[in-house]
C-alpha cells in the first residue's frame, strides 16, 4: 500500500522524501507559489503556498508529506490570505505592470490574476530603489524584487557561482551582488547563467530583449499560472 495524504478531500499518494507541494504537483493539483521551483532547495519565504495541515498553517513547499495528513489548500480563508500576501508584495515594491517588459511573462502578475486580485488594497510604499544596469548584458531593477531568492539558489546550485545574496532585515532587506563595488558588472555573472533567467518578476532582466515576444505569444496570454506551472514544473519534476 502506498502512503497517502488528503488534499482538499482528495486522496493523493506520495513517496518518502516528498513535500506536500511535491505530492500535490505530482497529482496535478496546483498550490500557488512564487519562491518555489522544484529544481532548487525549497525556501519557504513567500508564504503563498501556505496550507492547513491537520489544523496548523505550514508552507507546502517545505513541509514533508506524511501518511494520513489532512491538508486544506483552496479554502476561502487561505485564498484570502494568499491574495493579501500578493497585495503586500505589490505595494512594497514598484510593480508597474503596464510598462514592464515582463508583463505577460511575470509570475507575480499571473498569480495576482489567478487569485483575482483586483486592487492593491494597501497603500503603495513607492520605495526609492536602484537600477543596476552596469553589466553589459544583464540588469537588476530592485523595484521589482520580491526577495524570493531563486537567483541566489540558482547561482549557487546550478551555476556553481555565488553571485547573489540577500542582505539587511525587515523593510531594508534587499538583493546584493558579490562584488566589492556592489555592481553587477564586477561579478562573474554571465547572461547564459541560469540565475540570469530565473527571476519570476522583472527584477533580473536580459538587456535589450524586452517586448520582443508579441502580445498573444507570451506565457500567460492564453494559459493561467496553474496550468503553466503544472505543465512545466511537473515535467522538471520527473526529469
Amino acid at each position: 500500500m502506498s502512503k497517502t495524504i488528503t488534499l482538499d478531500g482528495k486522496i493523493i499518494p506520495f513517496e518518502d522524501g516528498q513535500t506536500i507541494m511535491d505530492a500535490a504537483m505530482a497529482a496535478g493539483v496546483y498550490i500557488p507559489h512564487l519562491c518555489h521551483q522544484p529544481e532548487f532547495t525549497p525556501h519557504g519565504s513567500c508564504k503563498l503556498c501556505t496550507v492547513k495541515v491537520n489544523g496548523r498553517n505550514c508552507s507546502a513547499c517545505t513541509f514533508p508529506a506524511m501518511d494520513g495528513q489532512d491538508v486544506l489548500s483552496e479554502t476561502e480563508e487561505l485564498i484570502n490570505d494568499r491574495k493579501k500576501i500578493t497585495q503586500m508584495l505589490f505595494v512594497e515594491g514598484n510593480h508597474l505592470c503596464p510598462g514592464c517588459e515582463k508583463t505577460g511573462n511575470c509570475q507575480l502578475q499571473a498569480v495576482a490574476y489567478h487569485l483575482n486580485m483586483l486592487d492593491n488594497h494597501f497603500p503603495l510604499f513607492y520605495p526609492n530603489r536602484e537600477v543596476d544596469a552596469s553589466h553589459a548584458d544583464v540588469m537588476i531593477d530592485q523595484s521589482r524584487c520580491i526577495l524570493c531568492t531563486l537567483c541566489v539558489r540558482a547561482s549557487q546550485q546550478k551555476d556553481g557561482k555565488d553571485v547573489f545574496a540577500v542582505s539587511g532585515r525587515g523593510i531594508n532587506k534587499h538583493l546584493i551582488v558579490n562584488a566589492q563595488s556592489g555592481l553587477l558588472k564586477d561579478t562573474d555573472l554571465e547572461a547564459t547563467d541560469h540565475a540570469a533567467h530565473i527571476c519570476p518578476t522583472g527584477a533580473i532582466l536580459i538587456k535589450r530583449t524586452g517586448y520582443r515576444v508579441p502580445i498573444g505569444e507570451r506565457i500567460y496570454d492564453h494559459k493561467e499560472i496553474d496550468q503553466v506551472s503544472l505543465e512545466t514544473e511537473h515535467v522538471k519534476h520527473g526529469e
Binding site: 510598462g99 517588459e101 544596469a133 502580445i215
Partner: protein, 499 residues
Amino acid sequence: MYEYLETAENRESLKRVVVDPVSRVEGHGKVTLLLDENNKVQQARLHIVEFRGFERFIQGRPYWELPVLVQRLCGICPVSHHLAAAKAIDQLVGIDPENLPVSADKLRRLLHFGQVLQSHALHFFHLSSPDLLFGFESDISKRSVVAVLAEYPEIGVQGVKLRKYGQEVIRMVSGKRIHGTGAIPGGMNKSLSKAERDYLLEDIDQMIDWAAGSVALIKKVHCSNLPYYDDFATIRTNYLGLTKPDGALELYHGGIRAKNEHGETIMDHIDYCKYNDYIHEEVRSWTYMKFPYLLSLGQEQGWYRVGPLARVNNCDYINTPLAEAARVEFKAHSGEAMVHSTLAFHWTRLIEVLHCAESIKELLNDPDIMGHDLVAQGEKRYEGIGVIEAPRGTLFHHYQVDENDIVTKANLIVSTTSNNMAMNESVRQVAAEYLSGRELTEPLLNNLEVAIRAYDPCLSCATHAVGKMPLQLELVDIEGKLIDKLIKHSDGHIERDNA
C-alpha cells in the same frame, strides 16, 4: 493680430468669465476672459491646467522601455508616441530609417495609418460633429455624440465604425487596441498573419466609401456658410510638417517643411535630427504648455500651426487618388495659396481619413506586410531623435542614453504644444470678433470651445516637462478667502503675491 488680448493692464478691475473645463477635447484646460464694464473683452487666455512630467520620470529607465512607457502619455494617439520613440531608439541601435527592414517599415506605416484614422474619426464624429451638425450655439443637450446618433444615426454609426476599424488595425499589428507593443529597437516584433490581413481586408472598401462620404459631408457643411466658416477663429500663420522627398503628404517619415502665410517656403527637406537648430520653445508663466517657434523668424513672428491643415496646406500632392482629388477641391475653394480657416482643420482631417483608408488598403495588399525579416541591428549610438506626423501634428522625441543603456535626457515637443500660440490667437479672435460687447451666455461661450476643438488639442500630451514649469500655490481659509499665494516662475524664482 490679437496679441494685445494676451495680458490686460488693469486686471483687478475687470470681470472674470471662465470656461472650465473646455469639453470634448483630450485632457484638461480652461479659458479665462477678462471683461470691462461694457462686456468688452480685455484679456483672453487658454490655460492648460494639468501636469504630467514624462520627460523627467523616463530618465533612469533602459531605452528599450521607451516606446511602451511614453505611449502612456495618451490614450488617443499612443501609437504616434510609440512610433516616434521607436524611430529614436532605432538610432540608438544604429539603425536609420532607410536601413529598417522593408516589412518592419510597412508594418509601422500600417499601424500609424490605423492610428491617424481612428483618432481623426474620434475627433470628427464623437467630439466635433455635434457643433457642426447642430450649430455652435445649439442647446447643450444636443452637444454630444448621443444626439448625433439620435438625429443622424447613419453618420453617427459610420463614425463609430470607422474609428473601430482603425482600432482593429492597431490591434492586429500591436496586439492591443490601446497601448500594445509592436515596435522594438530596429524593427517590429511581429508581422501580419494571412488571417489577420484577410480580416482587415474584409471591411476596407466600406471604410474608404464612408471616408469619402465624410469628406463630402464636411465640404457641404463648410460651403453652406462659406464666409462664416472661412472667418471664424481664422488666423494667418506659418505652417510646419513633414513631407516626402517629392513634396507629397507624409505621416510616418520625411523632411521638415515650413511655409509662411503666403505659401512661400521658409525651409524644406530639413533633416529632423537637426530640429534643435530650427525650433526653440518659450515658457510663459500662466500655462503648463510651452510655446515653440521657428528660430529664424524669432518668438514674435516664428510661431506656426501643425496638424491636418498644415499638412494639407504644405504638401504638393497626396499619393492616393481619392484623397488627392479631395485635396485639389479643398485648395480650390479658397483661391489662396494657403487656407487659413481654422474650421478647415475639420475638412483636412477628413481628407486625411480618406488618405489613411486608401493607404491601408494598399499596404494590406502588399506581401511585405506578412514578411518575416523584421529586425535590424547596427552600432550602438548615444543619441536618438524620432519625428512623426501624429494626428494632431508634428511630434518630436529626443533621447540621450549612457554607456549602460539608461536614458539620461529626454525632450518631447508634442503636436498640441506647437499649436499653443495658434489656439490662443484663435480664442482671442473669437473673443474679440464674436463675444466682445455682448452679454455672455453659455451657448455663446461654446464658440470659444469650438475654436479650440478645431485644433483637436491633446492637452494631456502637451504637459510633460518638469523643472521649468511655473507653479502657483494658493492658501485658502475655510470660508474660501485667499490667505497667501506663492508663485514659482519658469526661471525657478519664487515670489509671494499678497495683492
